[in-house]
Symmetry: C4
Subunit: 490 residues, 4 copies
């Protein structure tokens, strides 16, 4: 295998012959173009050229080798051209957004000054790239579901009990039988590398600091590191769950599930609320915002000469669109659950239940748990807040809580939020964005920090409720009030 | 017929002898003054002078010929004076508002950056003349009905279903038996020419781009183009409905209906909620705003010397007043519906039903459909939002939905709004202002653009609701919640 | 009777001998000091000096003669001193607030640009003296009752009827048998002279412009003109009612009632909701605001040397305190109504009913009407809005509406407000502040103007409701909704 | 006992040998370090140095002597060094916050301009040190409970009665049998010295100005003066109650109770809602705010080199943490109430009841009263507002009001607030922060001032409600409405 020159590679810059350089290795991706989940267009932007940086941001390192036949690796770039690429990358003028981020990072507050999750979010907002912030924070349409997920908690007030011994207070629990130091887990969230070069393993490491801190992480199919890499970063005895976006091809899906089980994951969370991408406008607008900022002025409109509206350059599916392009849109209770049961012995949890009826169908289907979720408000806008679904479930079908474990995610930012969900019957609650923000702002330390904050808030809250163990949190300790508090600070 | 000079015409500048020039043709409108729906005053402003520009803005080209006896056309202006008029028009100093509009038009964003209807509205707000914006956007009194129409949708949340096959998803339906690519139609809205020189045909052309886009347009009696012109602009197989403001003279009204039917319109929407003009204050204040802007300072008050209040120069009926001055204010179920049935075979829809009782009376009267509407909040302020009327109808009289087709308009801006109305039983929903804004901002292309946006939003919403055809949208998929979301972005 | 010099008068500047000059006449008010409803202090401020200006602002011209024995008039000032006083008055440096008002008056908009009552209020806010604005607009404590009075109307929505003949539409009615061109009357409001030198007669004249405009004015005991003066300003056939603040001394009270009846007043509105002054903080703070404005800086605090809190100079009863200092605080149903029935044949209306129980007691007491009112939010803060009391009355005791006439005031600013109250059973509604603002801003013309505005709004509203006479306004045309509109513009 | 030099003391600046100077006296606190409720760290900051200023701010003068064995007092500082310390203190550069406070104090308004409690709070906000303001005003988490405590009152409206004699109106009552000039008491609040050098005795003196003003003060265990000092400041016949934070050691707790009884206190309010410190973030952030203000810039973040999150310098329990570190977290109804009954004959009141069930348990336990309180929103956020708990109690268990006295605190700022609670059954209501603000802003005079304001508001409110004695305030005079007033001014 000989060395290639930049000039030789540069000739293969067309759909009919498309080569790219990744980490100084030359690949022929011509045939792969049509299979790329993110579409051919984004690859062709780098045809005949170096694609290392975008590749690293969006993919696990082993993605390429898993998806390309070995013969498509054509060989290494010659050393002097490789050096030239390195220099070019170094000398590349930084964008205004990159410069802003660098400046912002030097002004992060000392970590001990972060005393709640809102602090962490506001710091992340300042230190993340616009792209990362837009992808993490965006929600669908007018972001009503996103906002109301959090606001739902503010309608539930406590009826605390006094004169009960709480000198000793234990916030730990088990989830699907696995111990957790708090009734909390990391809900699956994609593309951690957008926020921090180390990506998801920041969360893996920060969530497991024995003996005091050990939370379970649910790893997304769309993580920016492979599930194997993440599993390898896990500590001794650390538990991971897998968030499955089922591929439309059952064979490929089965292969994925078996590999996940082999890698040591302890449960499958089947995602059912993201069958098509939500309309996340902040994410869609992101490239235009950056473009205009770079140019200093917005573009001038040139009247279309033809009568029909041109679709222009808009990628209306945003960052998320590419990630789920090949997902299965024809799942059913009758077909999909038995299929999954047939190929794995892991517990199965349905992620994305949004009404009482489907909760009952899940119980009938015999799954081990359900996660009440509207995908953090990122899918169908005006989907009822998960806490409200939990409340309906508690009132209409209290029997379900003995049939399977019920979890909730969406909008949880305070220890009191956790306690409200547990009073209403949740086994545990998931948090997504807060972990992305924490690792983006302070890496591993940030992740551990927010867990410590939540632990302190949960224990204080339990004691002030007159409760010394999570099992004692009861429905009569919360009341849904008929007024809306003026404002939450978050 | 000889040529006339400007000087000759200028002598006829009184109520007793009033001539005007329109497109270099001289007319004697003395006898017509008292019949002009907009009042004599507005014509007298141009007595003895050129009236081409205001005529074009508010009238269909054939209006004059339809309303004046042939002998009132006195003949052409002489060529040199016609040329002088052209030059005068060209050299006329532009108003501050015209200059603002010209500048704003050069800064419109590229159309592909318009990703929702709120974008389109905010662009229209910037590029429309103040008069157009004031007329289109205004609503009555304190604009509570207008605001609450939209806000009503925000109280309805979804209970989405999962694990249902949605790979194939069809948003099409039929309205009065006519196919529509989406469960949407263009609700009648007047004076499109205020926003764009081509007027209503922008909508006609933009709403019909086969095979993917074909919506039905309801054409207003008060359109700034004649219904014949609009019908002529329609494509092959394109369906148009007619929004009838019934003239108080049954003979004239019948003539109008027969002409409309002859022109190929497929249904009559009889308007019953605009029997007198609403109090649209933004529209009423418009001339003063422009006057003060032009002058640079507001006028100084001169104390009335007489004791009684003087009515001053205020046109308290705004732009709309003139349009409906001759409408029938004595319609009844007993008299009007049989009369209309007697003169046309077209389906009849009552536009402007605002309570359950009248919906039932309409069904008893045997009409083909009802449009729940409060005229976009432009008539009686505090009229209950149409979506709330629909919700009451669904709960109190679910039987009605099998007796006639029920439509809704007012406040619809998102695909999820459409889906909520359909879940509650609406056959289709109408949008008015969004089409005026779209054609005002980008002409035909703007109209098609918002239809494409709505299609994408509707299809995404259906899939995330677990629904693959509009007929499967059901009442149990929406819930009226008892809290009010913090804010909608629109 | 000889002439007095300024010097002679100046010697009587003590509580033990206190003379004042009013319109160049010298009075000995030493013995009257203790009887002055506004307290001795305010008179002593002018002891030995000219008191014409403050006297004119707060009193009817004949007040002095009615309250002082004839011998206390000591005689005229000598002509040269009288001239000196006139010059001194003319040359008196104007306060900053007076200069502001003069400037503001020159910038009033032309009256025809005033198109709703909010316009009138915002103009009044600019052209009234700070004292007038503070007195008129102030309400008690946190002004919740004031704000909620108006906001209550925004919770009632219409269910308009269509296809009903409304070409002819008559908004007139009768009140206690007297005809009124609209279902509206002028609610008693004090001290009109604060806003305009002509005072209450502006309202008297503006409310009666036959044949189209004839409203009934309720004249307050605390008017700044005497009830006789106002009666004299009334037109031929114009009807006036009298708002009685009953004096604690039954003899004096009886004398007042008989005089009122003799002056031609047609009904007695007995005020029962203002038995002690409300805490109107804007009014209380008024002198300090003016003081600081004049001085340019706020005063510096000097620590009290004694331990106890000093009450300082605050007049904690504001302008209203003085007006009602001698009112009867021991009225009862058993005692007061029979007494009043015994001394007059005029119809009796109780002004200030605030709950269903008292409405029933009033009916049992046999009065002719009740005015549901919390004194415009100026008395007990958090008193239930009168419209809500009306709504409760309609639901709990619909029989009462046939026993007596029910009126409402507080927060009415739109024709639709009037119609809502009438649908719920009110015979007519009262407006207070709007008339004070209108006369303050434009005198008589302003008063007529707002009546014309209301007429237009009421007639338009009736037609759009499908109603052609006030008697057809029915409870099923309004609905109390369970949400709160986002904002009213007023 | 010899004199010590500063140099000698300075050598004992370590945990193993720690001396401090207080009021020129030298103490060995080495062994006391581990017992200090506020932790060793705060003492070590002053090891080998003068600690007079911080000692005085947070402790009663006799604290040291009570807690240190006599032999730990090592003797006096030599006179020249004592003088040097005095000079050093005098010459110490003032902090920016101290300078701000000094300036603000010179601009306090004259006391007579303070006309409501909101005025007093806004003045206090300006003239208090940041530390005092942060400690007094802070509440837990997002301060929802704090805000909603006050806002709850705004949902209750009055149904005033008219035609009832109120010329004589008496607002006095008794609390546990002791007379009070108003149905109000001073609720326990700690650390008054933070706001004013004289501390809690300002309140003691200001609340007792016979014959008109005599309120009962509840003195906190955490007062900055000893309960004996406060008792000594009390006037002849003045009544004090004691707010007990029970020590975990029953012996110490008993000693405290007996001493309190001996000092003349008339009741024990046992605190049960503050068993662990609440998360008061404003208080926690206070030192950083002052640090950054002093430095002019916020600190720069230095990346942690270790993976785990460092706890840094944050004192996450704030000012309150130290105060309750040794409190009993194992109290029960069965154990604690009988114990307390066994050691004192004083009436027992439970402070901090937050639900109906615990109110009933308190009645069963035979206590004399309960104070419905969530500790001013400073403990568990989202604890139901006390007024709502009172309302539930009134509806669900009206019988309880005859079994014990029920009090309420939290959010009371107006006379109408007091009247609402009394209508619903409260015997009296407590106010805390308002007294701290009043004494901080104007010392004794400020305290008397707000009592006079409340008296005027209560009497006016009673009269306008038609009530002449507190016993006549009845549940049917208030109504919980289903809307939320737009805004309170406080």
């Amino acid at each position: 295998m000989s060395f290639w020159t930049l000039q030789q590679v540069a000739e293969h810059n067309k759909p009919t012959s498309c080569w790219v350089i990744i980490h100084n290795r030359v690949y022929d991706v011509t045939e792969f173009l049509s299979e790329h989940p993110g579409g051919a267009k984004i690859i062709l932007k780098y045809a005949g050229n170096d694609a290392t940086e975008p590749y690293d941001t969006f993919h696990a390192p082993d993605t390429l080798e898993k998806n390309l036949p070995p013969e498509k690796y054509l060989g290494p770039l010659n050393p002097s051209d490789a050096l030239a690429l390195t220099h070019a990358q170094r000398d590349k003028t930084k964008t205004k957004d990159q410069l802003r981020v660098e400046e912002a990072l030097t002004h992060r507050p000392p970590l001990h000054r972060v005393i709640n999750l809102a602090d962490m979010e506001s710091i992340a907002r300042r230190v993340l790239s616009h792209k990362a912030w837009a992808y993490y924070s965006s929600a669908s349409d007018d972001e009503i579901a996103y906002t109301e997920n959090a606001r739902a908690f503010s309608r539930f007030f406590f009826l605390p009990r006094v004169m009960r011994p709480v000198a000793i207070c234990d916030p730990s629990t088990t989830i699907l039988g696995y111990p957790s130091s708090l009734p909390i887990f990391v809900s699956g969230a994609a593309l951690a590398k957008l926020g921090h070069p180390l990506g998801e393993v920041n969360i893996t490491r920060g969530a497991f600091v024995p003996p005091s801190v050990h939370l379970i992480q649910m790893v997304s199919s769309n993580a920016s590191l492979s599930f194997t890499e993440i599993a390898q970063a896990a500590g001794d005895g650390q538990v991971l769950f897998f968030q499955l976006y089922k591929h439309r091809d059952d064979i490929l899906a089965e292969r994925r599930v078996r590999a996940v089980e082999a890698a040591g994951y302890k449960a499958i969370f089947l995602t059912v609320d993201a069958i098509v991408p939500g309309n996340r406008e902040k994410d869609i607008r992101c490239p235009w915002v950056l473009e205009d900022e770079e140019a200093g002025v917005p573009p001038v409109y040139v009247e279309d000469t033809v009568g029909a509206a041109s679709g222009g350059e808009a990628n209306l599916f945003g960052t998320a669109g590419a990630l789920i392009a090949n997902d299965d849109r024809s799942m059913t209770w009758e077909k999909t659950i038995p299929w999954l049961r047939g190929i794995t012995e892991l517990p199965i949890v349905i992620k994305g239940i949004q009404c009482v009826e489907d909760a009952m169908l899940a119980a009938e289907a015999g799954v081990d748990g359900i996660l009440l979720s509207n995908h953090g408000g990122r899918q169908l806008d005006y989907s009822l807040p998960p806490l409200e679904v939990l409340y309906k479930l508690r009132r209409q079908r209290p029997d379900i809580f003995s049939k399977l474990e019920v979890y909730v995610d969406g909008g949880i930012r305070r220890g009191t939020d956790v306690l409200k969900a547990l009073c209403l019957g949740a086994r545990a609650v998931g948090l997504g964005r807060p972990f992305l923000y924490a690792q983006g702002a302070y890496g591993v330390s940030g992740v551990t920090k927010i867990i410590q904050i939540l632990e302190r808030e949960i224990v204080t809250g339990m004691r002030l409720l007159g409760v010394s163990a999570v099992k004692d949190l009861a429905p009569d300790m919360v009341e849904r009030v008929d007024w809306q508090p003026l404002a939450t600070k978050l």
